[in-house]
Symmetry: C2
Subunit: 232 residues, 2 copies
C-alpha cells in the first residue's frame, strides 16, 4: 500500500535534547555539568510515563512529568533551593530544543509528498513551540496528548493513523529508536530508522536499527532521497 | 490578560462552504441546483451533531456524519442511484472548500503574534486538507476530534485552551456565528466576530454579532488591523 503519511518521533530523532539542554544550562549560568544534568533529567522519563501506561495514573501531559522529574533531580545537582518561578522557566527548556541540522530542510522536501505529523510523547504545546523554534510545518500535531496515553502503547500510533483516515499500512513511523519502530511495525506501520549515533553523547546512540525496518537512513534528507528514488 | 492564542471557527468563518460545494457540484456535472444541494446537506448538520452532543451516540468524526447526511439528501435531488465510490468522493468536497479571499493573508499577519488553531467541528484530516488547500499554517489542529465532542459543548473549547497551556481568558474565539462566540465567552474566552453576510446566500449571513463581543471585524485582515492597533 502506498505510504500517505509520515509520523515522526521527536526527542532524539528530530531534536538534540541533550545538547540543547546542556547549552541552555550554560546560558542560564547554572554552575553544573549540563550534559550530566540532561542525562539525569531524561533518565527519569520512561519511569514517569510507565505509571501512566500501566494505568497507575491517569494521563497527564509530558510538561507535568518533566516538571516532577526536574524537582526530583535538582537536589542531585545542589539546586534544591531553586524557586518556583525559576523551576517553571527551566522546565520550558524542552519547548525550545534545537533540531539536528538536517531536519528542517528534509521535512520541507517530504512535505509535498506525504502528510507529516509528530508522533511524540511530548504534549501539543511543546510540539507547537518546537515547530515554531525550528521551522517545522506539520499537518497536525498527533501523538500522546491526542491519544491520552504514551508510546509505545498501540493506541497512540493507531489514534494518529485514524486521525488521518489511514490504515496503518499507509503510515510510516520515523524514529531513531528501534523500540519505537518495533512497536509501530507490530501494528502494520512501515518504518524508517534515522541514525543518531551521538544522541546520548559521542557514540552513545543508535547508529543503525537493531530491528528489521523498511528504510535505514543517515538523516531526514537521506530518507527523502530514498523515498524520491522509489518514485523515480 | 493578554491574548496568547486565537481559535477559529472554520465552516463559514474561514471557508465558503456553500459557494464551494455549489461550484464542485457544477464541476462534477451533476444536473442539480448546487446552492440548494449545499443548503440541504448543511441543513442536516446540527441535528447529526446533536445526537453526539446529547450523549445519544458516541463521538464519530464529522466526515462520517457528512456521509450519512449525504445519503439522506441524495434522493431529494434524484440521485439515489449514485454508487458507493461516487458518494465517497463527493463527501470529500468538504476537504477542499475554498477560503474567503481575506483569510490566508490575514492569518499570516496574525501568526507572529498569536498561536493559531482551528476550533472547528470538522475532523483533523478535514482541517489538514483545508489547510493545505488554502495555505493556512496552524500551530495545531484542535477542536471536536481532539475533544471527542462537538461545539458548542464547553469541553471542546476548554480542551483547546488546555492544549496550549492557557487559561480561557488568554484565548480568543473567532467566528462568524454569534452562538459560537456566546458559548466561548461563557467560559471566559475573548471573542471576535467576523462578518460573513452572504454565508447562506446573498444577505443570508451574520453581518454583525447579535451578542456582546470584544471585536467585530469585517474580515480577518480587519481583525489583524484591530489587534495591531492595540499593540501600537
Amino acid at each position: 500500500m502506498a505510504t500517505k503519511a509520515l509520523f515522526f518521533d521527536v526527542f532524539g530523532t528530530l531534536v538534540d535534547w541533550r545538547g540543547s539542554i546542556a547549552r541552555e544550562v550554560r546560558r542560564l549560568g547554572l554552575n553544573i555539568d549540563g550534559e550530566a544534568f540532561a542525562d539525569s533529567w531524561r533518565g527519569e522519563y520512561q519511569g514517569a510515563m510507565e505509571r501512566v501506561r500501566s494505568g497507575g495514573r491517569g494521563y497527564v501531559k509530558l510538561d507535568i512529568l518533566h516538571r516532577e522529574n526536574l524537582d526530583r533531580i535538582l537536589p542531585k545537582f545542589g539546586l534544591e533551593s531553586m524557586g518556583e518561578a525559576e523551576r517553571a522557566a527551566l522546565n520550558l527548556i524542552w519547548h525550545r530544543l534545537d533540531a539536528w541540522p538536517d531536519v528542517a530542510a528534509g521535512l520541507l522536501r517530504l512535505r509535498p509528498h506525504f502528510r507529516l505529523a509528530p508522533m511524540s510523547n511530548g504534549n501539543i504545546s511543546l510540539m507547537a513551540d518546537l515547530a515554531r523554534h525550528n521551522d517545522f510545518i506539520w499537518d497536525a500535531i498527533l501523538g500522546a496528548e491526542v491519544a491520552r496515553d504514551y508510546k509505545p502503547k498501540p493506541e497512540v500510533y493507531l489514534t494518529g493513523a485514524r486521525a488521518f483516515d489511514l490504515e496503518p499500512e499507509a503510515c510510516m513511523m520515523v524514529a531513531a529508536h528501534s523500540s519505537d519502530l518495533a512497536a509501530a511495525a507490530a501494528l502494520g506501520f512501515k518504518t524508517a530508522h534515522i541514525a543518531r549515533p551521538d544522541e546520548h553523547g559521542t557514540g552513545l546512540g543508535e547508529a543503525g536499527p537493531s530491528v528489521p525496518v523498511d528504510y535505514a537512513a543517515r538523516d531526514i534528507s537521506h530518507l527523502a532521497d530514498m523515498l524520491e528514488g522509489e518514485r523515480a
